[in-house]
């Protein structure tokens, strides 16, 4: 419990410091696009955590390289906000395919509920929303490390039913650049038109670096 609090406090402080730093650099870097969320002043490499994908293959953040990645943390037992977000991401992908066909983009649903969300469960779940979507999960410590590095938080509140528990999680989308670095955070509501416009602005700014 104290460890969770400590993690939450660290993440919060990191987020505040991160946001402050970003605002500082933002004021000096006119080329950073204005989006629903924020673009990091300096993209950041991710720590080397060990995850597993929807085909039960090992996955590390190095596998995020070579394409843009939209990453969303959630769990399949979630009835409302997770399916809502995945539907919006599928709509975003439709727009991206027609508006930015040259950009390679992959979508990752990271389950922070490895106890219930096996790779097989993730496979059938993500494919329902889009055949190209990926599922990732891993040990809680690995997931916490990845979450912290991507300014995301999650928590399984204590004292719940063994089988029917809820998980709290950020509703942000994390955008990783083609180097596999943490690049931007997109905040809800996740409107596909807005997401597509924000992504186009980020891609353009990235190309002009």
């Amino acid at each position: 419990m104290y460890r969770r609090l400590a993690v939450a406090a660290t993440v919060t402080i990191a987020a505040i410091l991160g946001a402050g730093t970003w605002q500082y650099f933002e004021s000096r870097r006119a080329e950073a696009p204005t989006i629903g969320g924020y673009v990091l002043a300096r993209p950041r490499a991710l720590p080397g955590v060990a995850l597993v994908d929807e085909h039960e293959r090992p996955f590390t953040p190095a596998d995020f390289a070579g394409h843009w990645s939209f990453v969303y943390f959630g769990y399949t037992y979630c009835p409302d906000v997770c399916p809502l977000t995945l539907v919006e991401l599928a709509r975003l992908e439709e727009r991206r395919a027609s508006e930015l066909p040259a950009q390679r983009v992959e979508y990752f649903f990271v389950s922070v509920d490895p106890k219930r969300d096996t790779p097989a469960r993730l496979r059938e779940y993500v494919a329902y929303f889009h055949p190209a979507f990926h599922g990732l999960t891993g040990e809680p410590t690995e997931l916490h490390t990845l979450a912290q590095a991507t300014e995301t938080v999650f928590d399984v509140p204590d004292g719940q039913d063994e089988e029917h528990y809820l998980v709290s999680h950020s509703s942000n989308l994390v955008l990783l650049n083609p180097r596999g670095e943490m690049h931007a955070v997109l905040t809800p509501p996740h409107d596909p038109a807005r997401l597509a416009a924000d992504f186009a602005a980020i891609v353009e700014s990235y190309a002009r670096r």
């Binding site: 906000v81 929303f129 938080v153």
Partner: protein
């Protein structure tokens, strides 16, 4: 807590006078179609009071073992889905249960919910008692914005 709310609501109902009032109007109900293997689902609707306040205390449906009232509360950077005991509807006002906000959580659904099906929901109000409605299952992947309030 739940019992306490129920008692309060019942008290309020019994002492609030004899004015005859119809049940709250329930509109725009729909249920999110479920991915394969899903055990939960969400239902959305709008409750409007025509001048008499009421309180939604719970719901049941043959389509699921249990139904809970849920909301999302922001807790720093995190959205926490949380059970609520009751959803009050003030006189002359409407309460929207919509994606990403207040909703009914269906737990242990009896069968996958696919577009085209209808499910019956029995809503339990403190004053009006049971109000039964039928809600279509909508596949949000194909449907476009299904609620006029979605994304607000």
């Amino acid at each position: 807590m739940r019992l306490f709310v129920r008692t309060l609501a019942a008290l309020a109902a019994s002492t609030a006078g004899l004015a005859a009032a119809g049940p709250p109007a329930v509109s725009g109900a729909w249920v999110r179609a479920t991915p394969p293997g899903a055990r939960t689902a969400a239902a959305y609707l709008t409750i409007s009071s025509d001048g008499t306040p009421d309180t939604l205390l719970g719901a049941t449906t043959p389509a699921a073992r249990a139904v809970e009232l849920h909301t999302h509360v922001a807790e720093g950077a995190m959205a926490r889905m949380q059970r609520v005991d009751a959803i009050p509807v003030a006189a002359g006002e409407s309460v929207h249960l919509e994606p990403g906000a207040l909703h009914l959580m269906l737990i242990d659904i009896a069968a996958p919910l696919v577009q085209g099906r209808q499910i019956v929901l029995a809503l339990e109000f403190a004053r009006a008692g049971i109000v039964e409605i039928s809600a279509p299952v909508i596949d949000a992947r194909a449907a476009g914005p299904v609620s006029p309030h979605a994304g607000h």
